[in-house]
């Protein structure tokens, strides 16, 4: 199983769209794609909608990206985390480290509601 990555840039930052599985075989290329984006210093979104499986090594790669981003002061958000991947990330504690798109959206909504 391979992993395809595409990046999309807009005014607010960069979106990296991943497709496939993130495991020990594919996580190296993901890391190579993500690290330069982190170093650009702009907010980074990682779209996992088309990711079917994230292994232990894959989660570790995402955490390395998070730690790099934290070091560089860059916000990283995960999007489109499938139910199964979310469950694994939650049970193993990885989810605690990340901002996820859904949570960000919910917070924004709550904030908007409070402002009214």
């Amino acid at each position: 199983m391979t992993l395809n990555v595409k990046e999309r840039r807009n005014k607010t930052g960069t979106v990296l769209v991943a497709t496939g599985e993130i495991n020990s075989e594919t996580s190296g290329s993901l890391l190579q794609a993500l690290l330069p984006l982190v170093r650009e210093g702009k907010p980074l979104k990682i779209d996992l909608t088309a990711v079917t499986y994230v292994s232990s090594a894959g989660l570790r790669t995402l955490l390395v990206v998070y730690r790099e981003a934290q070091h560089a002061g860059v916000a990283v958000t995960l999007y489109g985390v499938s139910e199964e991947v979310r469950f694994v990330m939650s049970a193993t504690g990885f989810l605690d480290f990340f901002e996820t798109g859904e949570a960000v959206a919910a917070a924004a909504k709550a904030k908007a509601k409070a402002a009214r």
Binding site: N23, E25, S56, L59, E68, G93
Partner: protein, 715 residues
């Protein structure tokens, strides 16, 4: 700076020097043992003293047949350690094991068999039992597959809590049983993740330490028995049959099928620590799942049988554990193995302490005789990594060695105090002649631990092994038929009393008495000096239907029934308030045994004994009433606990209090709820300051304090 962080540092040892079986390899590092990811490859290291050759067997994950068999070149052996780095392996997608060749000569202790693939004793992950209860494919030659893993968990700022031993309130539970019940309402019942979701419950209860029944990988399907009534297969539910000592049980993880049990368990520990709760593991070093001559060969037996097991001069297995074999704990190699294992759990899992199953075996010499100065126990007591962990011994074994009070402690070891359990149980049921020993037990057993302090005594009335608290007051006899051993298993000396009917009853009088007896037990436990330990579910009257040995019952006999949290809210509230009370009264947690002397300016002794008349305890054999008052050690309060195991009520004369203090009622188990207990600090002042009528089979707790009391001591 970040430009260089991800760059690989080039190292000389990142290059292969040899080729074996088509794989590029080089000599590995003998230490650390096990499989460790190194630049470009994986380093494998395994010990065997008598093996003539060693072969690393590598499988693609989940495949029945090996993808490679790599014999260690002779030059890769250092001493009796075989070490090799194999390059180009995808560490996440392989499983491995060893074939050790050497003599098969049981009379001299050797059982080498190169046909067997053996688990790595240092494997940090095991595959093969990934999901609890899934019937294994027994046609496979290699059942418990060693796996490689990274040890890079992100602990954030988690550190051991370092709660002083005397301040602990231990809660003994089973990872699966705690949330496996369908009504647990957690997302992954029966797992580490499920337990994590119940942390708020534990926090609210007030416990600050959980002690987990074995979590090292074991095989729940290795029990051959069935329930004689239902025909259902029985599991090895408790898990005191370790398969692999460095690996967390995959079947206890919702993510075991992904091989992420280590991360899931660490996340549980991290969150427990964040909630102020320590984690103690129940560890089993006295025997292994390999059993005796008839048992399976999994690891030690095939790698170095004569080193790892105590053997008779004829080469048979000594059996001080009652389960077939006995680990040769004081062999220099084995004691290092035990040390490495515990260091691993402390350093890599942030475990706070250990309870050692049948720990008396850890004090036996190579031939089984008890050692006066057991090197293993000393080693663990002084080890730098384990230095601040709690070490708790089950200070007896199945070979008849009973060392409660005499366990070689080196200033560090505490013990499950079996005598506390037996004495308080006996008192509760109303046995004559117990009052004197009861006093000794609740004062921290100075007869047993005079030089070690009260925290050497882990006080408990119930544990996984034996009746639950509800069953202790509901059954005179064990009812273990479901275990398939004709009720011959489990202990017979339970000191239990059914309060008038065997098992469940509609009799409101009996049920009220049972509830009172449970409260009496909890009141005594949490006001005794020493570390209290509560069995999970006792706070909500969990029953095992009279089964006092549910080692094989993976069902509602063993599981925590969360409906009982509401059904038995009265007992739960009582338990919570008792724990809170203990936390607020330092004199109950004093590490020093009380002396009976006046130790501060209150003018009262640190401990004093009373009966119906103040200052006049009745130590006669027919006495079933004892009251104790404690004061000093920094608190201004006096705590008075009257324990009446008599079937009649008694008028208590209360001791006079100094300095404007008056008696306030905290708990009276004879009173109807909600008047049975109050919140600490909200005790009600007694109308009649000098007297109190204690009901039959009741415990009364009073606090002597001033009315402007607001100075609490909460650890």
């Amino acid at each position: 700076m970040s430009e260089t962080r991800s760059e690989q540092v080039l190292r000389v040892d990142a290059y292969p020097t040899h080729e074996v079986g088509g794989y590029r390899v080089r000599a590995g590092k003998p230490f650390p043992f096990g499989a460790n990811v190194v630049p470009g490859g994986v380093s494998f290291s395994v010990f065997s003293d008598q093996a003539t050759s060693m072969t690393l067997v590598i499988f693609k994950r989940g495949e029945p047949e090996p993808m490679a068999e790599l014999e260690f070149p002779e030059e890769f052996r250092t001493g009796s350690v075989f070490a090799m780095t194999v390059f180009g392996l995808d560490h996440e997608n392989i499983e491995y094991g060893y074939r050790a060749d050497g003599p098969f000569d049981p009379a001299t202790g050797h059982r080498f068999d190169a046909r067997q693939v053996l688990s790595d004793p240092y494997a940090r992950l095991i595959a093969g039992r990934d999901v609890w209860g899934v019937e294994p494919d027994r046609s496979r030659g290699y059942q418990y597959r060693s796996r490689v893993c990274l040890q890079d968990f992100d602990w954030g700022d988690d550190t051991p809590l370092g709660i002083p031993a005397e301040d602990l309130v231990v809660y003994e539970t089973h990872v699966r049983g705690f949330t496996r019940h369908p009504n647990s309402q957690v997302s992954a019942p029966g797992t580490f993740a499920g337990l994590r979701e119940k942390i708020p419950y534990l926090k609210e209860l007030g416990v600050n330490c959980i002690e987990l029944l074995p979590v090292f990988e074991f095989d729940e399907s290795d029990n051959p028995r069935s329930n004689p009534e239902t025909g259902e297969h029985l599991f090895d539910y408790w898990g005191y049959n370790t398969v692999s000592f460095f690996a967390p049980k995959a079947g206890y993880a919702a993510t075991g099928r992904y091989g992420m049990q280590g991360d899931e368990f660490r996340t549980l520990i991290k969150d427990l620590h964040a909630a102020g709760i320590e984690v103690i593991l129940d560890v089993v070093f006295n025997h292994t799942a390999e059993g005796n001559e008839q048992g399976p060969t999994i690891s030690f037996k095939g790698l170095d049988n004569a080193t790892y097991y105590m053997l008779t001069p004829e080469g048979y297995y000594f059996n001080f554990s009652g389960t077939g074999n006995t680990v040769n704990c004081n062999h220099p190699v084995v004691r290092n193995y035990v040390l490495d294992c515990l260091r691993h759990w402390v350093a890599d899992y942030h475990i706070d302490g250990f309870r050692f199953d049948l720990a008396a075996i850890l004090g036996r010499a190579l031939d089984g005789t008890p050692l006066p100065n057991p090197p293993l126990l000393e080693l663990l007591a002084y080890d730098p990594v384990l230095r601040h962990t709690k070490l708790i011994a089950e200070a007896w074994d199945a070979g008849g060695l009973y060392e409660v009070g005499n366990f070689p402690a080196y200033g560090r070891w505490a013990e499950w105090n079996g005598k506390y359990r037996d004495t308080v149980r006996s008192f509760l049921k109303g046995d004559p002649g117990v009052t004197g020993e009861l006093a000794t037990r609740i004062a921290g057993s100075p007869d047993l631990y005079s030089t070690r302090g009260t925290a050497a005594s882990v006080n408990f009335l119930t544990a996984h092994d034996g009746f639950t608290l509800a069953d202790l007051v509901s059954y005179n006899d064990k009812h273990n038929e479901a275990n398939g051993e004709n009720n011959n298993d489990g202990a017979n000396d339970n000191n239990s009393w059914n309060c008038g009917a065997e098992g469940p009853t509609d009799d409101p009088g009996i049920n009220a008495l049972r509830t009172r007896q449970m409260k009496n037990a909890l009141a005594i436990l949490f006001t005794s000096q020493g570390i209290p330990m509560l069995l999970a579910g006792d706070e909500v009257a969990r029953t095992q239907q009279g089964n006092n040995n549910t080692y094989c019952q993976d069902n509602e006999l063993s599981w925590f029934d969360w409906d009982q949290v509401d059904e038995n809210a009265e007992l739960l509230r009582f338990t919570r308030e008792m724990i809170a009370f203990r936390k607020r009264h330092r004199e109950l947690r004093s590490t020093a045994h009380p002396t009976g002397r006046v130790r501060d300016n209150l003018g009262l002794p640190d401990i004093s004994w009373h009966g119906e008349r103040a200052w006049q305890p009745d130590w006669s054999s027919e006495s079933r009433l004892l009251a104790v008052a404690r004061c000093g050690t920094g608190d201004d309060d006096v705590v008075y606990v009257a324990m009446n195991a008599h079937w009649e009520s008694h008028d208590l004369e209360l001791p006079a209090l100094p300095g404007g203090r008056s008696w306030h009622l905290f708990a009276d188990t004879g009173a109807e709820a909600p008047h049975d207990i109050r919140s600490p600090g909200a005790e009600q002042e007694l109308d009649n300051a000098g007297k109190y009528l204690i009901g039959p089979r009741s415990v009364v707790i009073l606090v002597g304090r001033t009315n402007d009391h607001d100075d609490f001591d909460t650890p």
